[in-house]
Amino acid sequence: MTCRRSALGAAPVPAPTPVPATAPAPATALLGAALAAALSVAAPAPAQTPPGVLVVAQIAEPQSLDPHAVTAVNDFRILMNIYEGLVRYAPGTLEVEPALAESWDVSDDGLVYEFALREGVSFHDGAPLDAEAVVFNFERMLDEDHPYHDTGPFPLSFFFSAVESVEAVDPLTVRFTLEAPYAPFLSNLAYPTGLIVSPAAVGAHEEDFGRNPSGAGPFRFVEWVSNNRVVIEANPDYRDGPPDLEAVVFRPITDANTRVAEMLSGGVDVMVEVPPDNLAMFEDDPRFDVHEQAGPHLWFLILNTREGPMADRRVRQAVNYAIDKTALVENVLSGTAEVAAGPTPPAFGWAYNEALEPYPFDPDKARALLAEAGHEGAELTFYVTEGGSGMLDPVAMGAAIQADLVRVGLDVTIETYEWNTFLGRVNPGLEGKADLAQMAWMTNDPDTLPYLALRSEATPEQGGFNSGYYANPEVDRLLEDARRSTDQDERARLYREMQAIVQEDAPWAFIANWKQNAVTSAKVAGFELQPSFFLLLRDVTKN
């Protein structure tokens, strides 16, 4: 199926039951009202969304439907329904369970992973999903000499940079050999970057594969009309039985107010990323259901531990005590986030340290710690961004945090930057520039954030994200050990210990874990948000 370029293309889904056109009222005194009415004389009244077809309001036009070429959650929401990976996150958790692979074995040294594929699975284009197809997927991303490597780019292929080789042992067995033990490997396979695409479709469409996707998921691709819709329909041959929905239509609606208006007017059945201010309205309205789910997200302040007052641990702890995090999540974020306790979000249930309590809001203790450290009235520079992926409401949050810090006697100056400019200043390190900087991360494995941003060997000079230069040999050791261990319980123990140490050392100020939200119309059933923030529509029904 080719992508229709014209927005006038034929309708892909069953025609809706026509609703009789309402005769518009005669022109009123309002100029605008009169004109709108006059123009609409010939137009049918907007119909309700047709039964069996779920219309989802997305926050933006997708960039591509090639799972190996994209990085945005907005695209993942579509992709997870078209494709499947070898493994996936079990519903409601971030724990890995079988998907296209029935089972797997890991060698004792953690270097060799062997997956047994399910029999009889085929792609939407009819080609068999076998070991060769899996090998093609990873070689396309990782091998610069692969004939289809130029159908990229593949920005997240480093998720699999530990892979030394991947081979088809027999038609239903795939073997990955790693260069070094890398425990997050399975978790990365469950991420969209690990979804399996049809080699035949890549061969047929080459660099346009992202607009002509073919996978083995519960829905198959129908059409993508630019800036209007992406349509997918039930895959009758899905290995686990076809979904109940006939089709799903994803509409890009970038403006949050317009998304709300479409939801209210019945133009969409599901909307994601509801503005906090509108949640209460939907909760009170019986025509809608509100869904919330905490995810693997952390909003924090990087503190510059290399120089200035923040080099003293007492000052960093004072900052953690001084900030009223409950007020931030309740008032600034209208309850769309929870107070964070440490560097690992609670969504990683298996690896989360339940014993940790967030730093309490205690300005007196903060003042005492500042006095003890001799840094009362210290002058601090605070980097704030105007917006950005996962940053929530950074300007308002920055102002509230500044006010809290001023209250304990610190002299805080805010510098605000546009997101890309902000990253360009923060990622190379805070030295010589700032004492505090906002940051947010959303990851899929408890290893990712601390390994990239808290190890002493992950400073920007060494290609990491430890922009505050935190260094603790014990944390380094725990993270290296956790990465090498193939025993999940052992990994969990190491991560919990790491969280306790990092909380005490306070290289960051831990602020909030974002809760993703969505609103569905009351006609929609079986809808659940996932901690992964993916949107899984296989079991959704609509009456």
Binding site: R5, A7, L8, G9, A10, A11, P14, T22, P24, L31, G32, A33, L35, A36, A37, L39, S40, A43, A45, P46, T49, V55, Q63, S64, A69, T71, P153, F154, P155, L156, F158, D208, G210, R211, S226, N227, N228, R229, V249, R251, I253, T254, D255, T258, A261, E262, L264, S265, G267, S389, W419, N420, T421, G424, N427, M442, L452, G463, G464, F465
Partner: protein, 314 residues
Amino acid sequence: MGAYILKRLALTVPILVGLSIVVFAMMALIPGDPATAILGAYATPENVERLNRQLGLDRPLVAQYFTWAGNLLQGDMGRSFALNRPVADEVFERFGATLVLAGAALVLASALGLLAGIISAVRQFGWTDRALTLLVLVGVSTPSFWLGLLLIMLFAVELRWLPASGMFAIYGGGDLPDLLAHLAMPAVTLAVVAAGVIARLTRTAMLEVLRQDCISTARAKGVAERRVIYVHAFKAALVSVIPLIGVQAGFVLGGAVYVETVFQWPGVGRMLVDAIARRDLLLVQGGVLVVAAFYVLFNLLADVAQTLVDPRLR
């Protein structure tokens, strides 16, 4: 006349070349780069370098510019890396949508503005004139994004007569009535300010013309008052109104960015905003170039139209 048009067209070439160099340099000078924008939190120096290599952004800027210009001469505007499709497809599709919106708004604004201006002038200081003047003042002062949201609340959410957003229905539709239903609110929203400005100027121009001797002569000759106003006076007033409508066309194109955002109209204004945020260099280049080319063309058309209406300029 023909020579004049040719000369004006030839002049646009250096304008567009200069513009493309400025845009290219500006995109290079502003902080942040495409690879960082794509990778976000994962933008380690190593990952950025690898991605830049895949995107062909590791070559010197001047070389990149000449490659782009060379391809352009062969009709290839490159590929948007953020949208994974040819720049030309995206730009012309989005520009088409903007033209539909801006065109409808301009026609609406002209019709309403001229009518209101003429009525005001004829009934100078009467209550119709005062009511219209007040309405015009309200129109000119209303922020378009706010008016847009109000219209959505009334016509889409409360009355459910019109779709809240988009250009075509997502199922069924796709025909002219469907387009008009989607176009109604954004076109009105966009037209309101321009209509106010045109009404004010038409009123002034008409008042000036109505005081002239030729009008007294026409009336003395017994020409019907309707004819005096709508034919004799209006034609004379049009000469000073047409260039203003040309200027308003530019404002309407610019104002379309807000309206496109509120109504999710898939136009070129929103495309450029997104492309700049993503540092999608080729899409910005292509978009700016096409918009500029049409802008120059519209100005030329307005000048030619004025020459045709006003015999004194020939």
